[in-house]
């Protein structure tokens, strides 16, 4: 437990992604099985001990510390595990040495609600403050130390010089402490056998289309729908739904778990029913509507009824035990079309091919996409196999040109990491009426990209010279500068005073020359809303 505690502590105080990766990788190389597997499970949020909850520790502490002092301390520290680890009474040095993670797992797994209050203190008594912090985090899950599951898996891959896609390929089929995974990656054993398990296959991804013109006899075009990319997997009758990052989101969309009638792996866009995208009945609602369903662990009946989810299918990877990924796109597409009649149209439809005479005709069609609130087009090489990741020349995303609006810089905030001493996050606004008739600026968005390092220095200087107010890390500045802001779409939002929220705003150009009263008005922005 000591090494794991040291790792957690080091991660807490590290902001650099590369340093975090190096710390985790070194730990995984140097720590024996099965402890390193359990540590990896903890970092990826894959451990759960039903008898141990944050409340279990809270109650233990309240028996040992005055409850008023506990509450005052918890409020100040802001983290139950940390408060508990700091307040746990240091006993006389225990003769037992710090337990291994394996021993901790064994103890925690065997706990019941009635045995926990007597067994947990024995474990805590063998640890110092860092050890207690690590133990409580480990036992209750939810590390909250700035390490995502993806980052931990990337560190695993770096540690043993394997590809993270391959790790993802096996990940969801395996259980902590991942003995087969370490046997393969660390000890040169056979890859884990994952047939017959409903596991995630890494997605094939696209590059943005820049200047090239493509020959449509080599590439097929499809709409790029604005939902979330998902993979629906059914093996031996068991169905799982995975997000783009490979997270299991089955619980968030329970209506999709018993509707795939055959064993298969399909790739598509998850959306909710509506009439915004595509503009026709039976189409899809905007991303804004879908957002209300994301990130939920439990879904109410009302949600299921009002915002029913469906999958618009792009591709098929496996069908009834047969791996189709080696086939060209056209052959997979044919397989998908053949399967479609067997799938219920309540929950599935097919992403249609966009027919165009030639590339310039396709460009015209793409221009019209805005009217239908579609993100843009996808171009897929007709003979390309399904390959994980982004391989140049196979798939392209050709987003419609961004929308542009002129906004006025209002607030700036210091960045982090490399930009930690620079004011690099900007909040900007539009006029709520005629600026010459006393209109005010209302914030409409925030951006921290789209400028060069040289421009950043200039912006940083401007912020410091024109500061009106300071609120912690944020500075309010005089209204002197216009940004031309690019964004993908704009939606109504109750969360913002301006009543709207932009998607993917970024600085397109800095208009050092433009007077602020010539910046856009809210009405212009509102007219672009397609909800």
């Amino acid at each position: 437990m000591e090494e794991f505690a040291a790792l957690l502590n080091a991660l807490v105080y590290t902001t650099s992604r590369n340093r975090k990766l190096a710390l985790i990788a070194a730990y995984l190389r140097e720590t024996p099985d099965p402890d390193r597997g359990w540590a990896l499970a903890a970092l990826t949020g894959s451990v759960d001990f039903p008898a141990v909850k944050a409340n279990t520790f809270r109650n233990l502490l309240k028996e040992r510390v005055d409850p008023v002092l506990w509450t005052l301390s918890r409020d100040f520290v802001g983290d139950t595990a940390e408060t508990a680890s700091l307040l746990w009474p240091e006993g006389s040095a225990s003769a037992d040495k710090s337990p291994s993670i394996a021993e901790v797992v064994e103890t925690l797994s065997a706990l019941t609600r009635s045995s926990a209050p007597t067994e947990l203190p024995k474990l805590l008594g063998r640890l110092d403050e860092n050890g207690r912090f690590a133990l409580i985090k480990f036992a209750t899950g939810g590390m909250r130390i700035g390490v995502s599951a993806r980052l931990a898996k990337t560190a695993f891959a770096q540690s043993f010089d394997v590809s993270v896609e391959e790790v993802e390929e096996y990940w969801h089929a395996l259980e902590p402490p991942y003995a087969e995974l370490f046997a393969w990656a660390a000890d040169g054993g056979d890859p884990p056998d994952v047939t017959n398990r409903p596991m995630f296959r890494p997605f094939m991804l696209a590059h943005p289309l820049e200047e090239e013109e493509l020959d449509l006899s080599d590439y097929a075009a499809e709409w790029k729908w604005d939902g979330i990319r998902v993979q629906l997997v059914r093996v031996n009758g068991e169905t799982r739904l995975y997000s783009r990052s490979g997270d299991d989101i089955s619980a968030t969309f329970p209506e999709l778990l018993d509707v795939l009638p055959i064993d298969a792996v399909v790739d598509g866009e998850l959306m909710v029913r509506g009439s915004v995208q595509g503009g026709e009945a039976g189409g899809a609602a905007s991303f804004n509507a879908l957002q209300q369903r994301l990130g939920r662990k439990k879904v109410s009946k009302k949600m299921l009824a009002e915002l029913p989810a469906f999958v618009r299918l792009y591709d098929i990877l496996l069908l009834e035990g047969e791996d189709l990924r080696e086939l060209g796109w056209e052959q997979r597409r044919t397989a998908l079309e053949t399967v479609m009649p067997r799938l219920p149209d309540s929950h599935f439809d097919l992403s249609q091919i966009v027919a165009a005479r030639d590339f310039s005709h396709l460009a015209e069609i793409r221009e019209g996409a805005r009217q239908d609130a579609i993100e843009g087009l996808m171009l897929k090489r007709r003979d390309a196999p399904y390959i994980a990741g982004r391989k140049v020349g196979l798939w392209y995303k050709w987003k419609r040109d961004p929308l542009l609006v002129d906004c006025v810089l209002m607030y700036a905030q210091r960045g982090s990491g490399r930009r930690s001493s620079f004011y690099s996050d900007y909040t900007f606004g539009c006029w709520d009426g005629d600026p010459d008739a006393g209109a005010e600026l209302l914030p409409v968005g925030k951006a921290y990209s789209g400028f060069t390092d040289a421009e950043l220095k200039k912006l940083d200087k401007l912020v410091r010279q024109t500061t009106l107010n300071r609120f912690g890390p944020v500075r309010e500045v005089e209204r002197t500068l216009v940004f031309e802001v690019a964004f993908d779409s704009v939606h109504s939002s109750k969360r913002h005073k301006s009543g709207l929220a932009m998607r993917f705003p970024r600085i397109h150009r800095i208009r050092w020359d433009k007077p602020v009263h010539e910046a856009d008005r809210l009405d212009n922005l509102r007219s672009l809303i397609r909800d």
């Binding site: 807490v12 105080y13 590290t14 902001t15 510390v65 005055d66 008023v68 002092l69 005052l72 301390s73 100040f76 520290v77 802001g78 983290d79 940390e82 408060t83 700091l86 307040l87 210091r414 982090s416 930690s420 001493s421 620079f422 940083d460």
Partner: protein, 343 residues
């Protein structure tokens, strides 16, 4: 004075000694002030007369020109030194003595005696050894007016040797980088440097400009700080593998761009709490404080064993609760202008 202790009146901006018509650590300019130590939330300029230890007056002369002649041969702000252990008479039959508080150079508790009653105002204090100042002395009294900056049981400061060893360990492990230690310019900076010297670190230490004069003042008072250099006089590469000491504010600002790959450290009692360190972008937290931690606060109250405990700036609630649990008479004074982060 019929009511006990009514001659001492706490106001939000300071403690008034009513019969003497003077104030302790007032937050606004007054005719006559007794000042416990030189930190800005206790000492300020512009008093008609400032009564403090010679060291505190030297610090205030540097910061506020207290006791220094103006161009016309006048001293607008008079300075009256009182040595540790010395007792002076104030108007109205009040006697005042200055007793070491162990917080920073020159820091004092003030013992007030009037009508057979004894009141001690601690100012800020700590109980740990500090090579840069005289150690805290326990003074029996009826009313003990204590600080409570770290008045929560989560605050337990580890031994400073352990934190200094941590700092030197990181420095040795990263010879191509510098470790930039954020520390308050008065007290913390000099203590950290002195403790580094005591641990055998004899390399030059680089200073932010704001530290220079205060370090010289400490040296003039007999605190050896070893080889000090100014960052403005150094090449970026010279600082690789060395310790830089700067004000906490400078570390997060563009000032830090002149340092070679700095590892950001912070010497503060707040570093005990991970979230506090993360908020400030601290990579190497050093739990080094010039204040009493929770155990020292409560041990000191028990040792002094006053009839009443009055609690000033900090987390009064928890210490008040502790007094209540031990059936000690206590009250919280609402003091303003004592910075929450003030160390």
């Amino acid at each position: 004075m019929s009511n006990p202790f009514s001659w001492i009146r706490p106001e939000p901006w300071g403690v008034q000694i009513v019969p003497a018509n003077c104030w302790i650590d007032p937050g606004r300019a007054v005719d006559r002030a007794l000042v416990t130590h030189g930190h800005a939330d206790h000492a300020r300029g512009g008093h008609g007369e400032t009564i403090a230890t010679p060291e505190t007056l030297a610090i205030m002369a540097l910061r506020y020109r207290t006791g220094i002649e103006n161009g016309e041969g006048e001293i607008p702000s008079k300075a009256t030194p009182v040595q540790y252990g010395e007792t002076i008479s104030l108007p109205g039959g009040v006697k005042a003595s200055f007793v070491p508080a162990g917080h920073v150079l020159g820091s004092a508790q003030i013992l007030l005696e009037h009508a057979g009653e004894r009141v001690v105002i601690t100012g800020d204090y700590k109980r740990r050894h500090d090579p840069t100042c005289a150690p805290f002395e326990v003074v029996p009294c009826d009313v003990f007016i204590t600080e409570a900056t770290f008045g929560l049981p989560v605050f337990v400061h580890p031994p400073i040797e352990q934190e200094i060893a941590k700092l030197l360990g990181v420095l040795a492990a990263n010879p191509d980088q510098c470790v930039a230690v954020g520390a308050y310019a008065l007290g913390k900076a000099q203590r950290v440097i002195a403790e580094l010297r005591a641990a055998g670190h004899d390399q030059p230490i680089y200073l932010h400009g704001a530290m220079e004069k205060m370090c010289h003042l400490y040296e003039e008072h007999g605190v050896d700080l070893g080889k000090l250099r100014l960052i403005t006089d150094a090449d970026k590469d010279d600082m690789r593998g060395h310790i830089v000491v700067a004000t906490p504010a400078a570390l997060n600002d563009r000032w830090s761009r002149r340092l070679p790959d700095p590892i950001t450290a912070m010497a503060s009692g707040w570093m005990r709490v991970r979230g506090r360190a993360r908020q400030r972008g601290v990579e190497l937290p050093l739990i080094i404080s010039d204040h009493a931690d929770w155990n020292e606060l409560i041990d000191t109250i028990e040792e002094v064993n006053p009839a009443e405990t009055w609690i000033t700036h900090g987390r009064e609630e928890a210490l008040l609760r502790w007094c209540e649990l031990g059936q000690r008479k206590a009250r919280a004074l609402a003091m303003i202008g004592r910075e929450e982060e003030g160390e």
